[in-house]
Amino acid sequence: MSLAAGPGRGGGASAAQLPDELQLVVDKHVAYIQSLDTRRDELEYHLTEHLRISGIYWGLTALHLLGQPEALPREGLLDFVFSCLHENGGFGAAPGHDPHMLYTCSSVQILAMTDGFSDLEKRLPNGKMKIAKYIASLQQPNGTFAGDVWGETDSRFLFCGFLALSLLGMLPNQRPNEPPIIDLTAATDHIKACQNFDGAFGVAPGAESHSGQVYTCIGALTLAGELDSYLGEEGKDRLGAWLSERQLPSGGLNGRPEKLVDVCYSWWVMTSMAMIDRVHWIDQKKLTSFILQCQDPDHGGLADRPGDMVDVFHTCFGIAGLSLLRYPGLVEVDPAYCMPKPLVDNFLGRK
């Protein structure tokens, strides 16, 4: 899965004369994602190796939401995922890369989407527990999680830890009769300490509010089952006001005040609004049109904004955003997991 940008541009060659009624070019996006693995002769393919497994997660999620979950060969995906697995239960971004929380999360998401946990057991006996223990080992005394043995902390790592544990069925609130493998209260207390005076959340206590961090903090509270009790209606109103202010006249959303709009921020803002039931506070028609203007109608793929090069990251979050906006024909996305909702429901035994 190449993470190299291009070859196409959002809006395509004729971005200036786009029709008002844009359509999602589903087949072209599928073909674009399928083509990414054939680009190994490009230098950028190798320069982005440190993200490879996340790239696969982005491509696969987009394909699932487009209704084409089989478009990448399952065996090849699983072989690659297992080639990134370390003895300690962590996954690196590619073979030979150190294990890291972000790539462990992406790997678990891929395993869930490819129904690969029985394959995991064959390759690594008691694999689910080993992965869970690796994640738990990264929790710090103050409740937050490090990304790896290097010790960098970020609310993103905490959320990824929760998400992967949840798919593994190992969050303490999912197994109340077993000894907890992480300190859930310390973790959620840390998340709460990341909330700012403007009602939104930053990467660490005191750090500026940022919509990507709002997503990880709200997602973590959702998975821990503490979103409603912590925020209440008043907190949701304040956060929703901040999030809805991210929409600019172009219809796109930005990540912080006075920054540029971007398809990926559009997703992070909107999915946070979905988790607090306030998506309708933004102009959904305008946002849909903004996202559609970011696609390359000729070669597939989406860019961060019209005129820029497409890439698999923005392709995933653009399509996920359209799914949340109920764009016709797309599979519904789960806001917290950023995976197909029917699959997550089935996986977690939700009705």
Partner: protein, 316 residues
Amino acid sequence: MGKYSEDPAWADIVPLPTDEGGPNPLAAIAYSDEYGEAMSYLRAVMASNEFSPRVLELTDDLIDMNPAHYTVWLYRAQCIFELKYPLEDELAWLNETALAHQKNYQIWHHRNTIVDKLGKWQGEAEFVEQMFELDAKNYHVWSHRQWLVKRFGLWEEGELEFTERMLEKDVRNNSAWNHRWYIVNGREAEGVRGVTHEGIRMREIEFARKAIAKAPQNASPWSYLRGIVRKSGMPLASLKELVLQYADTSKPDGVKSSHALDLLADVLAEGADGKQQASEALDLLSTKYDPIRKNYWEYRKGLLGGGSSASTATAA
């Protein structure tokens, strides 16, 4: 032939090609550029756990070509500590590297680690300010600045003046507003009062008031004021005079700031008979000054009815 394969200093190393593709690679890897060669030497030294000056040089080369490769950073950090490499030299190298790769974030964790071990903060604040000349909103640089303040207790070492300098350059820099909040209010747990102290509160309100006068449609100082109201519990009504300078429902065409109108709605709603006027302010936002968020303003109007105060929605 490449840079490393021709260098006698590396003659003893057999480079390890990538095994990407897993047990059944979908395609053979056939690329022989400088980066690929350097990576194959890194794999080889990592396989034999070599920590040496030449490995430091190799990681320098690789980071320069691809600073986002986290495994290279981790190995470099290990190497620094194994060799007891002078940390000041590492910082000097980091200064150049950070300026060359502004968007990279791995570098900031590495810097944290080195500065923390060194236990000295002198020169850091200046370096950070230099980074802000390139991008005054770089999130990782601001995070590093906050870490420095907390780690070395620099709360009163010119940080407030620093935020003033930053906001003098760009009053819309939300990162600088956030940092100011942090400096003023970040020591509550240690018993140092921020805007709950009247004198400090007055100073900060005055600071925001001046910034609003410069750019009334700038969201940051309005948000800062709301933060003060909320944290200190001061009456919202005390901001009425300020708000009316920028938004007055009796002059619907003369609104200078949608944020003022938003705050005005809350100020009015708190008053005994201001609901009707508050509703008018929200109508102006919904139809004229911020129509993209029409549904939000309609929701706020809904909160006015039913006897509950709208101020609970956003301010108090």
